[in-house]
Every structure is written in structure tokens, then in C-alpha cells.
Symmetry: C2
Amino acid sequence: MNPTAGLSIADASERTGLTPDTLRYYERDGLMLHAVGRSSTGHRRYTETDLRWIRLITRLRATGMPIRAVRRYADLVRQGDGNEQERLDLLRAHRQQVLAQLAEVQDHLGAIDAKIGIYVEKLENTLQPTLDLERTPTV
Amino acid sequence: MNPTAGLSIADASERTGLTPDTLRYYERDGLMLHAVGRSSTGHRRYTETDLRWIRLITRLRATGMPIRAVRRYADLVRQGDGNEQERLDLLRAHRQQVLAQLAEVQDHLGAIDAKIGIYVEKLENTLQPTLDLERTPTV
DNA sequence: TCTTGACCTGGAGCGCACTCCAACCCTGAC
DNA sequence: GTCAGGGTTGGAGTGCGCTCCAGGTCAAGA
């Protein structure tokens, strides 16, 4: 319809950081709210609304939400008004998982830091002080 | 040798949180420092040293280190003294990746929280106040 | 007219990290 | 003696999330 009706998949790829293959895969797999619009020649045309949605689901993915949960969320949004509580529940459940995961990683990282400290000490006591100071700047 | 020379794979599984299959897989895949000791009947016998190592590599894995990097680290430790700097480099590189990953997840989580806030507001303005207060306790 | 390049589709393939399975071996209890 | 239980091995299978490919369409430029 509109001559300037959206971005090519290459442009969308550049603006979202997802590869064209991934963009097509998300669409095939039901992660988009609707099939992306097409040009007269059948090429995808992404709108700003599409890009905003892609950026949201990219955040969900980047925080570890599985594809099928993203699809469930997309399904809810697609159904339209009335299920906001369900969407909220889904997002909150995810939030709790992310927080738990963050805490766990931070705990493990603390232990790894301790290990790093042991190696630093070991090396400080072993190598010539000058050489060591050059090779192991503090963090 | 020692009659009480270690734990069965089932015990090791319980104490590390890894399944027996995973414990065997790690050994096969070169993640252990040595092949785990065997009883006279060929059953694995895990020592406390084995368990400590497993707990360390579990922390590495839980912070996202790929199996092949864990194997590289195990290779270094197996080689013995002299490559502490390399081990330190490997752990520090991993540490930086974990920190970057944590920052990224926290950023995404902030955006998701904002989305959650929008739904909370929407629901507060839509549902009957009493019902709403019951259904959406703060966080 | 021919070529190039961007895109399309359906479907196969891949890397990762397990997870499962069949076939077998011991030991000890009944 | 036989059977259950707990292990062994090598190798196949699985789920996830992409990633790649073949064969095709279309439009614009030389």
C-alpha cells in the first residue's frame, strides 16, 4: 500500500541484531504477533511496530526465556484485550526466574573470584615481582 | 586399596547435583583431572578431591563456560605446575564474560520490569480496586 | 537480453550438552 | 540357582535454537 511501507529483512536484521534467518525463524515459529507484511513481490516489510515487538522478545530471549514461552506470550498478546493478568503472571514468573538465576551466577562468580585470588597470590609469590606486576594488572 | 575408598556414582550424583549420566559424560569428555578410581568390580569410586573438582567445574558451567573451555582448563591443571598464568588468564577472561553477561541481563530485566509496570497500572485502572489488590500483590 | 542481487519457501543440518539404551558384569539375599 | 540392584560400556537419541541450502521469483541495470 504505502510505498515506504517498511524495512527489508536486511534492514530489520541490522536494526535488531538478529540475522535474517532468525527473523524468518521467529515468524515461522509463531513468535511474531502477525505474519510480517509483504511487498508486492512477496518480500517482508517490517514496520516500526514489528521492530518494537522484536526488540521486546529479544529481551525476553536474552534473559533466558525459552522460545515456547515467548510464543505463549505472543499468543496472549495476539488474543487482544482481556488477558492482561495472564501476561503479567507470565512476565512476573519469568522475572523471578531471572532474579534467581542472577543470584546463582553471582554466587558462583564469587567462588570463581576466590579461585582467581588464589592464583594471583601464588603467582605473586613465585614470579619475580616486577615481571609479575607487569603481567597481572589488578583486574 | 582402601576399603572405604570413595563414593559410588549414585552418592557422587547426590552430593554434586549432577546425574550419574552427566558424571560419566564429564569423565569421558576429558573434564576430570584423571579417570575416576574404580572398585575391584570396576565401579567408579569418587574421592573428596574428585567432588571438589566437580563442584568447581559445575560453577564454571553454571556461569556459562562451555564444555570445551572447561576441558582446556582441566588440561592445564592436569599438566601440573608452571602454567598458573594461563589458568589465571582463562579464569579472568571467563570472569569478564560473566560480568558482561550479568550487566546485559540486568539491563534487559530493567526493560521487562518496565513492561510489568505498565501491565500493573493497566490492571489497577481496569479491575475493581479490591479484586485487583488481592490479585496483584506488589512484586 | 542477460546478469546480478535481494529475497522467497520448505526442509535439512548443526553444535551443544546432555540423556537414554542395550547388553553385560558382580554381589548379595532368598 | 536365580533374581534384583547397582553398576559398566559404547553408541544412539533428544531438545533447543538456530543456520544453511537448493531451487525459485522478481526488478533493475549493463
